[in-house]
């Protein structure tokens, strides 16, 4: 099973995310992560989906997504040519015993401590999913209270993709 990152430019309209996620449900495609946000063109949003599967699955996802009326462009990002990032906020127990270890790990992972409480520390980590996973493994024995991750956002290197003509509504 390979992991694919699929990028879709969609109309920035009510209900479009439901249509996209509904398609995944209906066709039985399992989503690993999904992110969505407005692009530089306010008429368009970009959806980044990561899935695991074979070439059949990724091909089906792309061709089914293309059929949705609000989806303007879809592509599978080239494994060799993509840059991807994920952001995680993780809240860890702050005790005299583990504080220095958390701070040391944060420094090595180029993570930032963004909140400090007598009982807890909140750390922000950015990177590829594998780095985020690794940081979770380091924090786990130190006492994770809760965490959240954004899911993957990704772009291809160089000039690619966003050549969609969409009229911006006034």
């Amino acid at each position: 099973m390979k992991r694919f990152v699929i990028a879709a430019l969609v109309e920035n309209k009510y209900g479009v995310l439901t249509r996209v996620s509904g398609l995944f449900m209906r066709r039985g495609f399992n989503i690993d992560s999904l992110t969505v946000g407005e692009t530089d063109n306010p008429a368009l949003s970009r959806i980044t989906v990561t899935v695991k599967g074979d070439d059949y699955l990724s091909g089906q996802i792309v061709s089914q997504l293309k059929k949705l009326h609000n989806v303007k462009q879809v592509e599978i990002l080239d494994e060799e040519q993509k840059v991807e990032r994920e952001l995680m906020l993780v809240k860890v127990r702050n005790t005299p015993d583990n504080r220095s270890e958390i701070l040391a790990a944060a420094a090595i992972y180029r993570a930032k401590v963004i909140d400090y409480n007598p009982d807890s520390l909140c750390v922000e980590v950015t990177g590829e999913p594998s780095k985020v996973n690794a940081f979770i493994n380091v924090m786990r024995p130190l006492g994770i209270i809760e965490l959240c991750r954004t899911g993957v956002v990704a772009l291809e290197r160089g000039t690619a993709l966003t050549d969609v003509e969409v009229v911006i509504a006034d």
Partner: protein
């Protein structure tokens, strides 16, 4: 990877469409009137529906526009949705159905799903509660766009009257472009009441289709030229107007035989000497076997559905496969193919024809002739010896004799549907309307109404006592409008198809499949139409001739044996090797 999206014109663009003529000055009007004016502008002449609280304004405008737009009131919204579907299947036009919010809208769901699974162009218009009441569980409020999300090609919830006309235009464009399908537009009551300027436009053009790479056409042509046993396999995507000739010419040139899916019935005349009939679960023996023996399968407008292929792991192992479809997502979806060609089917066939040599495959012809002989032998062996027994085959023999080339055959779902598919002779396209993908029992009454209204051609509904029971209320519609549909109930007093499976796979435990007890003739009379009950081939022939000549709605209750089987049969999930061709074999 470059996008293969269809390109086209935005309906909302202020530029004129190709061929469009600027019409006249804008006029201020209500949303409800805009709905009607836009339908008329898009060439709609007939709509089906049922009024209710949240579409009262639209119905008021229908009343005013009754000289320009016909509306047919059905007994139930489901019937209206199937009528719009049947209307579309026999004409290729976009069928239109209107229903109110809440239950009116949910009653359309089966009809919309039926159209979706068979790629039938439809525009469904529903009213909804005013936008100020949306999301409050108001009376008869339902989120129909949410409900129909997976069963429409696209749907809309209109919140601004200024977007209404273009939304309807875009809905028509989506419904008829590429692979057709249903589109739903939900219009809250306040949007129907609000006013804005309306400027009529021309009929919105369909979006342009993708064009396949020439290199792929060449690869496909090379496969055809190299084939010894070519088999063309056509489906619903190849059943439109103007497609048959090109398919037949390519078959002639490649010396290929042609089979079809259920949805491909009536695409080619049954009399075509290269046509072997439907293949698949209940397909013709020769067609299914030819598919198995072929060394090249050219699938045209087919999705290689499970009912047609059986177990795909064992499907057509000897063959290379070329798939031609208007929908790129169908290529490789169910079966891995060697070449996929996405685009206009007729254009692709013409390109292929230019590149193909005149072939001659005498061995293949002999093989097909042997398969046909075997099919004839099996089929004759299955008939009851007593000529007074009304077998399905005898019923359809009489029907084929009496109907003319334009007669439309509509069916419901079950054994009668498969017999109709196996035995009806077709001579021209769009003469068969039946729910293939969804398999909707109760489809037939509405569809027959729509088909008859669309064409004025003689229309026969073949149904079973089970399916007929689901929407027989539409007899009221037949009588109200004097629509001369001939209803033939193949009445065996049981749910025959389910019973067949119970006989074969469930040890004859007939769980809840016994019906019976309804006097359909008296029921027809109560609705105000004629009916008669027959039980022999001679009586059926006479009754059917009378019904076809009567020019009025007519019901024939034809009694058949409850233990008739639809044969041949491929076991679900099985392969062609497991074909069951006789009752004796089946009960082993």
């Amino acid at each position: 990877m470059k996008s293969e999206r269809m390109t086209g014109f935005s309906p909302s663009s202020s530029r004129l469409w190709p061929g469009e003529v600027y019409q006249r000055q804008p006029e201020r009007m209500s949303g409800a009137r805009i709905v009607i004016e836009t339908l008329i502008e898009q060439g709609v002449t007939d709509v089906f529906g049922y009024p209710g609280g949240q579409v009262l304004n639209i119905y008021d405008e229908l009343y005013r526009a009754s000289d320009r737009l016909n509306h047919f009131l059905t007994a139930h919204e489901q019937g209206a949705s199937h009528a719009a579907d049947g209307y579309s299947r026999v004409t290729g036009k976009v069928g239109v159905v209107i229903a109110t919010s809440g239950p009116g809208a949910t009653n359309l769901v089966t009809g919309i799903a039926t159209a979706m699974l068979d790629s039938i162009p439809m525009v469904a218009i529903t009213g909804n509660v005013p936008t100020t009441l949306i999301g409050r569980d108001s009376f008869q409020e339902i989120n129909i766009t949410g409900i129909t999300l997976p069963i429409t090609k696209h749907n809309y919830f209109v919140t601004d009257v200024r977007e209404l006309a273009d939304t309807i235009r875009e809905a028509f464009q989506i419904a008829k472009s590429g692979r057709p399908g249903p589109v739903l537009i939900d219009i809250p009551k306040d949007v129907q009441l609000a006013e804005c300027e309306f400027e009529p436009r021309g009929v919105v053009p369909a979006l342009e289709l993708p064009v396949p790479e020439l290199a792929d056409i060449d690869r496909a042509a090379a496969l055809i030229n190299a084939a010894e046993r070519p088999y063309i396999y056509i489906g619903g995507g190849a059943a439109g107007e103007g497609m048959a000739a090109d398919i037949q010419e390519l078959a002639e040139k490649a010396d290929a035989y042609i089979g079809c899916t259920f949805m491909g019935l009536s695409a080619l005349p049954t009399s075509d000497p290269r046509f072997l009939g439907m293949q698949g679960m209940h397909g013709h023996y020769a067609s299914s076997m030819a598919n198995k023996e072929a060394d090249l399968i050219i699938g045209v407008g087919v999705r290689f559905s499970d009912r047609a292929t059986g177990n795909t792991a064992k499907y057509a192992q000897k063959a290379r496969i070329i798939q031609i479809d208007v929908d790129g997502s169908e290529i490789n979806k169910n079966v891995r193919v060697d070449v996929g060609l996405v685009g206009d089917i007729v254009a692709i066939f013409r390109q292929l024809k230019e590149r193909c040599r005149q072939a001659d495959h005498p061995a293949w012809r002999d093989e097909i002739a042997a398969l046909r002989a075997e099919e004839a032998r099996l089929s004759a062996a299955g008939e009851a010896a007593d000529p007074a027994v009304l077998t399905p085959r005898r019923l359809f023999d009489a029907l084929n004799e009496i109907k003319d080339r334009d007669t439309i055959i509509v069916t419901d779902v079950g054994q009668h549907q498969m017999w109709a598919a196996q035995y009806t002779d077709f001579e021209r396209v769009r003469r068969f309307a039946s729910s293939g993908g969804l398999g909707t029992m109760g489809y037939g009454m509405g569809a027959a109404i729509g088909a008859r209204i669309a064409t004025g051609d003689r229309t026969v509904l073949i149904t079973g006592d089970g399916s007929f029971g689901m929407n027989l209320n539409e007899m009221a519609t037949l009588v109200r409008y004097g629509i001369p549909v001939v209803i033939v109930i193949m009445n065996n007093g049981v749910l025959g198809m389910v019973r067949q499976w119970q006989t074969l796979f469930f040890g004859k435990r007939y769980s809840h499949t016994v019906l019976g007890g309804t006097d359909f003739v008296r029921l027809a009379e109560a609705f105000g139409m004629r009916g008669e009950r027959v039980a022999t081939p001679a009586d059926f022939r006479a009754a059917f001739a009378r019904a076809m000549e009567s020019g009025e709605p007519y019901l024939i209750d034809a009694v058949i044996d409850k233990d008739e089987f639809v044969l041949p049969m491929l076991k679900p999930g099985g392969s062609i090797e497991d074909i069951i061709t006789s009752k004796a074999e089946a009960s082993k």
